[in-house]
Symmetry: C2
Subunit: 209 residues, 2 copies
């Protein structure tokens, strides 16, 4: 059985007034859920007779989705740490000029981390969506809806990660880095939107027949 | 700290060859994550001085989002049970005519449940998106990205729930129920798409300023 109580507890922590875990952690978890569903559809399909022609491809897809799942799972803690370092920086003393300079520097380092972690999350989610599309094309029809769920979940994860970049990047003093991060993100989001819609449509079309 | 290991274990179960927990459970969890983030933004905002004028509204929003979060959390187990009853029905004996009739009846009951649970999930997610939009308008700017995350997460949950209806409804012999379910779902998805885009845009516009 599913570990219901552990999920309940996580959702309670997410709902609490404590800002961590927040949207950044939610993004990483959703990305990991998308990758996990890709892995599941691959595993179920590999066991089916009529899908022998695509066994090798499905095995390669699963190997890749498992790497991405573990990477995104690790990002949950990275997001909490990034947010924590930013919050800690804001609480540093600002009595002297030296204090102020140190605090400003720590805030900038925290903002940079709180931009890099969700940007990286969006990059990995784009890869998950690509895998979900391929498994939507080749996976076992009996669980193919889950390939579509994987795609829309990873897209929501990428958009959620984007919102975390948007809230942190404006305060970055390194404007080149901020602009480059947002520009890369915008490109990623376009690709994610197109690919996830394609995956969703492929799956819907299969379910209609 | 976040209960990292329990999330890891859930993601491993989701990735396993066992089809439950699958996309239906993922949909319910995402819906609950969306509601949880609405609650969190409300709670953080209620504690802020500049937001006193909207304290009462935020308290009402949080009361509602907490009801929806618990409803969606319960749906994780309901989805696993619905899928389980359908799988059990397919495994029933079909030696005699009576066996076959009983098995066919059990499959139809399972399919009906496996259509009703995700349809209900989509209904509740539509309500979560409405709340996310309002909290995106009135919540504390420092965590407002999480209102946007709540909206896109609940929309992905609704689309994921829809895919679970689409995979089960075609095999229903009660065509009136099947058509009515899909028709209601299509309407819900349009509303969810419009409202979640509105919420995302509201939040993005606030982050630009």
């Amino acid at each position: 059985m599913i570990t219901q109580s552990s999920i309940d507890k996580f959702l309670e922590r997410l709902a609490s007034a404590d800002p961590t875990p927040g949207g950044g952690s939610a993004a990483a978890i959703m990305g990991a859920m998308g990758a996990a569903l890709v892995s599941m559809v691959c595993s179920v399909s590999i066991g089916k007779k009529d899908y022998e022609a695509v066994h090798a491809e499905l095995q390669a897809l699963r190997a890749r989705s498992e790497v991405l799942r573990l990477r995104l799972t690790a990002m949950v803690a990275e997001d909490v740490a990034a947010f924590g370092s930013l919050m800690a920086a804001y609480k540093l003393p600002k009595a002297s000029e030296l204090d102020k300079a140190r605090r400003a520097e720590a805030i900038q380092a925290g903002l940079r981390l709180a931009t890099e972690v969700p940007l990286d999350c969006a990059r990995v989610c784009a890869d998950v969506i690509g895998l979900a599309r391929r498994v939507g094309e080749h996976g076992y029809r009996g669980v193919i809806s889950d390939a579509g769920v994987g795609a829309v979940t990873a897209f929501a994860a990428a958009r959620s990660a984007a919102l975390n970049v948007y809230i942190n990047a404006p305060a970055l003093k390194d404007r080149d880095f901020a602009h480059a991060s947002v520009a890369e993100l915008e490109k990623l989001l376009v690709r994610c939107a197109v690919e996830s819609e394609a995956a969703y449509t492929i799956v819907c079309n299969k379910l209609e027949t």
